[in-house]
């Protein structure tokens, strides 16, 4: 099992650990919490944020991810995961046009999913910094005892 106790780490180790947690949380929503042994929290975050992003793509099609004509939206969408860049690469040719209300709803859903994932990245890094996973692990053990 990974050592999540950050209090006894060297500053460089701790920094690398926080970067690892942050990157994991960005690449796969909820993975940062999973790494610090907040598994239940990580699974909830993954399920909710991924469902929200998938709903946005379903409503507006993958055309809502457009880094050519919707660059500002794209900056928020890519916070969901770097994999959004692959979708942007598919749609950059303009082969998936979307207009009107479906475009609005799809863009809002995907952008909010990205911004919520930013909140999760910050939460996971902060919890890793405070050693929260370790602390809650002890609390759960005490509850079970």
């Amino acid at each position: 099992m990974a050592d999540t106790n950050t209090t006894n780490r060297l500053p460089l180790d701790k920094g690398l650990w926080l970067i690892t947690v942050g990157l994991a949380a960005w690449i796969i929503p909820g993975a940062g919490h999973f790494l610090i042994r907040e598994r239940k929290r990580g699974m909830i975050l993954f399920a909710v944020i991924t469902t929200l992003f998938a709903m946005g793509l379903f409503v507006g099609s993958i055309g809502v991810v457009d880094w050519v004509s919707g660059r500002i939206w794209f900056y928020a969408q890519i916070l969901y995961s770097p994999a959004v860049g692959l979708i942007g690469n598919i749609t950059k040719g303009g082969g998936y046009p979307v207009y009107g209300r479906p475009c609005d709803v799809g863009q809002i859903y995907t952008c909010i999913a990205g911004l919520l994932n930013l909140l999760c990245v910050l939460s996971a890094v902060y919890m890793a910094y405070c050693g929260r996973g370790e602390m809650i692990g002890h609390e759960q053990e005490q509850d079970n005892a």
């Binding site: 239940k40 929290r41 909830i44 975050l45 909710v48 944020i49 469902t51 929200l52 709903m55 793509l57 379903f58 409503v59 507006g60 099609s61 993958i62 055309g63 998936y96 979307v98 009107g100 209300r101 479906p102 475009c103 709803v105 799809g106 809002i108 859903y109 909010i112 999913a113 919520l116 909140l119 999760c120 939460s123 809650i136 609390e139 759960q140």
Partner: protein
């Protein structure tokens, strides 16, 4: 029969949503997701029942505020245009 290609194809064309007042209902899944994620990051220890209850309360309060904002804006619009 459903297969992977059929599911992927569903993401390549937008669905039909009219520009009607009922399209505002699309805000509720968004509010539910925001409430669930916010409470998941905010609560110190996640107890399922407490987590669901607090998420529901947040969802209801934000939804109530949004509905009130819609009513007030509609009233203002009616007063200005009448």
């Amino acid at each position: 029969m459903l297969d992977g290609g059929f599911i992927l194809a569903a993401f390549t064309a937008p669905i039909e949503i009219g520009t009607t007042p009922s399209s505002m209902l699309w805000m509720f899944p968004l509010l539910a997701a925001i409430a669930l994620v916010y409470k998941a990051t905010k609560m110190r220890v996640l107890f399922t029942k407490k987590y669901l209850l607090e998420s529901l309360l947040l969802f209801l309060s934000v939804s109530g505020f949004m509905i009130m904002a819609i009513i007030v804006l509609n009233l203002l619009s009616w007063l200005v245009t009448s």
